[in-house]
């Protein structure tokens, strides 16, 4: 349990900052000020200004908002659809239920970035495309985990008892089975959020994710690459923010997994 606090606290802090971004009295992350282009730290802009004179700190915090919104939206969508498919695949018998999980496995035949690029070609870049493609990519993980967990609890006495009481199948699945397999699904959700942050930043870095001028960590790194010579720190801030966030999320995932499945702890 102790290992949960530090990364959990850090992730909570980032979430809070991202949620409270409009309330923090930050300068407008989109307002350009060419006179102070690449300016160093100054009053009102603790981390200086970027290549268009926009406030770096403000863009970092608003960028967290963009990244996390995309990551959570896609992980939750993938989770909702994947869990339903997994419930069908784990509970039902017959070809339909097998196909419900197997068919999404096809997604795993593609390297994720390549599938994302294919979808961006067809749908055009933007947050909506990102959320769609990321939720497709993380679907198989949820379907598989849910199916495996349902298979392991479906024969338990409490499930049998609820069924004997005459509960309808969907009631049984949602009220009896689902709460008992929520742990591993939660772990999967945290993994998907962390992975989505990585992929979103990568696509934005390539200029094919979040559309400028919206702030995003990947876009900030992309922009700062051109002015690396004059302002190396501009590159360091978004890199550090991204890496620390993912590190905290990964540690939180590990800690969550240990809580959910104590057998893996101490490995």
């Amino acid at each position: 349990m102790k290992r949960l606090w530090l990364p959990g606290g850090f992730v909570a802090l980032i979430l809070l900052l991202a949620l409270a971004a409009p309330l923090l009295g930050l300068p407008d992350p989109l307002r350009q000020d060419i006179a102070h282009r690449l300016a160093g730290p100054m009053p009102g802009s603790w981390l200086g200004r970027d290549e268009f004179g926009r406030d770096v700190l403000s863009r970092l915090i608003w960028g967290a908002r963009t990244s996390l919104a995309v990551a959570f939206a896609s992980a939750l969508t993938a989770g909702a659809v994947g869990v339903v498919l997994g419930l069908i695949g784990g509970w039902g018998r017959g070809i339909g239920s097998v196909l419900s999980v197997r068919s999404v496995d096809i997604i795993l035949c593609f390297p994720p970035v390549l599938l994302a690029l294919l979808v961006v070609t067809l749908m055009g870049p933007g947050a909506a495309t990102l959320i769609f493609v990321l939720s497709v990519l993380y679907l198989p993980g949820f379907a598989r985990v849910t199916q495996a967990e349902v298979l392991s609890v479906r024969g338990r006495d409490y499930v049998e008892a609820t069924r004997a009481l005459g509960a309808r199948t969907w009631y049984l699945l949602l009220r009896t089975v689902l709460p008992n397999i929520a742990g591993p699904i939660l772990v999967q959700l945290s993994l998907a959020v962390a992975a989505a942050v990585v992929l979103e930043s990568g696509l934005s870095f390539l200029g094919l994710g979040v559309v400028p001028p919206a702030p995003s960590w990947g876009l900030m790194i992309r922009g700062a690459r051109a002015t690396m010579e004059q302002a190396p720190l501009l590159l360091v801030w978004p890199c550090a923010a991204l890496t620390l966030t993912i590190l905290a999320m990964n540690l939180l995932c590990d800690a969550l997994r240990d809580v959910v499945d104590p057998r893996t702890a101490g490995r």
Binding site: F110, P112, L114, T121, M123, L206, L208, P232, I246
Partner: protein
């Protein structure tokens, strides 16, 4: 490794390649609206109907879907990916030119990751809880957290921009200047290797600890075998299997990472035309490259499976 098993694996790989090609084909046709119109429209301005009709004919979109699908598959069989919409050049030509460079990068990165990750994992498992083990576990956590394009960008910032001891990126053919070729290969290979090395380290360490706990290891030691022999024949041989599995699973992430790394270091592999094509919505080029890399991914996984069977005779015999 029985012949039947081998044939089965190869058939499955072919089947998956077919599925992948079908999905790519369907993806274009599932997009709402007319692909040709979509490809030609820029910034909400609706394109010239004549141009749309011409492009529809060129792409074969005026034919029934099933016929298009058949033509698409037949083209793939012949190795014909169509022509680029931007410069009308055969897609296959561009892929043939650039694929070897991407493969070189992947190979260099994988070998580097194996050379660092596995010995480090063995050492950490043998000295469990020691200083190296603890330090390495933190370094791996950091390596796994830092995205591949961030590593690449920071490597450029550190070695090319600040220390000025390495070139920032580019490419020189091996035949032209071997020394410079490998110098330019070094940083991208390190960037690609970082994640895989970390995963291999973790997996090797865990598999070694599992293997070390087995009774047959104790027996081997008890009967007085030399420690190196116990390590190589009894522990490593058995620890290698899960490590090979993980190597296969990681290849998808590695291939995606290669796209980003090539971009960061201006390595003229497949990612340059791919990204250009995605921006220009050059549909045949994107499809050609995505299919090439996806089939490469399937092939690598087939090789991993064969390697698996070679390491563990029980698998092929099933």
């Amino acid at each position: 490794m029985t012949g039947v098993w081998l044939a089965h694996r190869i058939l499955v790989a072919f089947f998956l390649a077919w599925i992948v090609a079908t999905i790519v084909f369907l993806a274009l046709h599932m997009v709402p609206g007319d692909p040709a119109e979509l490809l030609l429209s820029t910034g909400g301005v609706s394109p010239d109907p004549a141009a749309v009709a011409e492009l529809r004919e060129k792409l074969g979109l005026d034919q029934p879907v099933l016929l298009q699908y058949g033509g698409f598959l037949a083209g793939l069989m012949r190795g014909d990916f169509g022509n680029s919409l931007v410069d009308d050049y055969p897609v296959l030509h561009e892929i043939g030119l650039r694929l070897p460079r991407t493969l070189e990068l992947i190979l260099a990165g994988t070998l580097l990751a194996i050379a660092i990750g596995m010995p480090a994992g063995v050492y950490a498992a043998l000295h469990r809880g020691g200083r190296f083990d603890r330090a390495a576990s933190w370094i791996t956590a950091l390596l796994l957290a830092i995205p591949v394009f961030v590593v690449g960008t920071l490597l450029v910032l550190l070695f090319a921009q600040t220390l000025k001891i390495m070139p920032a990126g580019g490419f020189v053919p091996l035949t032209q200047d071997p020394a410079q070729h490998f110098k330019l290969l070094a940083l991208p290979a390190v960037a690609i290797a970082k994640g895989l090395a970390a995963v291999l380290f973790r997996m090797t360490r865990a598999a070694m600890l599992d293997a070390l706990a087995n009774d047959y290891v104790r027996t081997a030691r008890a009967k007085g075998l030399a420690p190196t022999r116990v390590l190589v024949v009894h522990v490593l041989r058995n620890a290698l299997n899960p490590v090979v599995t993980v190597l296969g699973l990681q290849m998808g992430a590695l291939l995606g990472g290669t796209v980003l790394v090539e971009y960061v270091f201006n390595w003229p592999g497949l990612s340059t035309p791919l990204l250009r094509a995605v921006e220009a919505r050059d549909y045949p080029m994107v499809v050609g490259i995505v299919l090439t890399i996806s089939v490469l991914f399937l092939l690598i996984n087939l090789v991993v499976e064969l390697l698996h069977a070679a390491l563990d005779p029980r698998i092929g015999a099933r």
